[in-house]
Assembly symmetry: C2
Homo-oligomer: 223 residues x 2
């Protein structure tokens, strides 16, 4: 008999993340972990994404916030299964952990879901340390945050498969050079897929939606 | 003989924060803790502040970042004493602790400094939990982050004496209602002093500079 020793909180988290990956593989469903600073546009991107995928893929959402259900309320009009996690009542304030995602996903009818989006707590540091079992971790960097953030918060941008440069519609008002943002992301993570978009105007959204459709097709085929 | 039992990391931190308060009171110097999300404009505000106070108050800066000295380099042209803390080599990544500030302040000639600014790690969650011995904690909320942040990250806005709504120069491009930002701050912290400003255009800066001058005068008088 093999006895598994769970050494610390990160080992325990990784073990649950693997379990989540197993469940999603069995069901042929995709899991996406959206991370960023507060106010980088995760909820706005989710809202536009749910709209674009309506009638094409069956979506669900896990909303992570310290408190309130403000983000969940913004998405309620999309009529998708949605669970709100409030971390202030749990073990940690500043990030989601795999155990929270496992618990939230139990409320979904996973036989009838193609893709689950996790909106993590707004924080460019701590969430990057916790594997949630996602197929793709996505780091958003909004144009008003400035191009230096990938250099100053490298763990977040190293840990993601996809980096989204968001709010490009206000880049002109900021006098921001979007190439510099992308170059800084690539300097810490050359393998990341980089997408520039504005959820507000729709510019660049099709690249993101195509990526999600491809991932979902791949997961369904591998089921 | 009384034996002090330090129960946990927050007790230990509070004990060092009190020690820092004692040193700054003895010297008649003020200590300011600037906190916000990444990219809310702490460094730009500091740069403009150092410029406005040049020749009036003797300033010093403690720069807190996970890694790099990019922010310190942006401020180097101000020729003030400056210490860079990189948290990735210390006990925690995501916030400054009082022990780091105590250590950093040792490198200053405190008999010739009126005001020390701490730029905390960009994070709207964790830094709020750690008292750094400051006279004033300042939470910045930039207009592109959106007005709901004080409701979603209440601990940060409850813990501050001053809340600065920053980047007001791009509010029009965002279609942002600045009153909503201020009302949401006041709803979680009715006692906070709220200042709206743009470090880029200078609008609103005089309110902030006056506040610093008053604080410094008070500290000097109480020495």
């Amino acid at each position: 008999m093999k006895i598994q020793v769970i050494k610390n909180i990160l080992d325990a988290n990784d073990s649950i993340a693997s379990e989540i990956r197993g469940v999603f593989a069995d069901k042929g469903a995709a899991l996406i972990n959206l991370m960023s600073s507060p106010g980088a546009g995760k909820t706005e991107l989710l809202d536009a994404t749910l709209g674009a995928l309506e009638g094409k893929l069956r979506c669900a959402v896990i909303e992570g916030d310290i408190c309130t259900s403000l983000d969940a309320e913004r998405l309620a009009h999309r009529n998708v299964p949605l669970v709100q996690i409030n971390t202030e009542t749990l073990s940690s304030l500043c990030h989601l952990e795999a155990s929270m995602v496992r618990e939230a996903a139990k409320s979904f009818d996973m036989d009838n879901i193609d893709i689950v989006f996790i909106e993590n707590v707004g924080n460019l540091v701590c969430p990057a340390e916790f594997d949630l079992g996602a197929d793709i971790s996505v780091a958003l960097l909004s144009s008003p945050e400035g191009p230096d953030k990938p250099l100053k918060y490298p763990q977040m941008f190293k840990s993601c498969e996809v980096a989204i440069i968001s709010k490009i519609d206000i880049a002109a008002a900021l006098g921001a050079d979007m190439d510099l943002y992308e170059n800084n992301i690539r300097s810490v993570n050359p393998a990341a897929r980089v997408i520039r978009l504005s959820a507000r105007t729709g510019e660049g959204m099709s690249d993101w939606i195509d990526l999600l459709k491809e991932l979902s097709a791949k997961k369904t085929a591998a089921k």
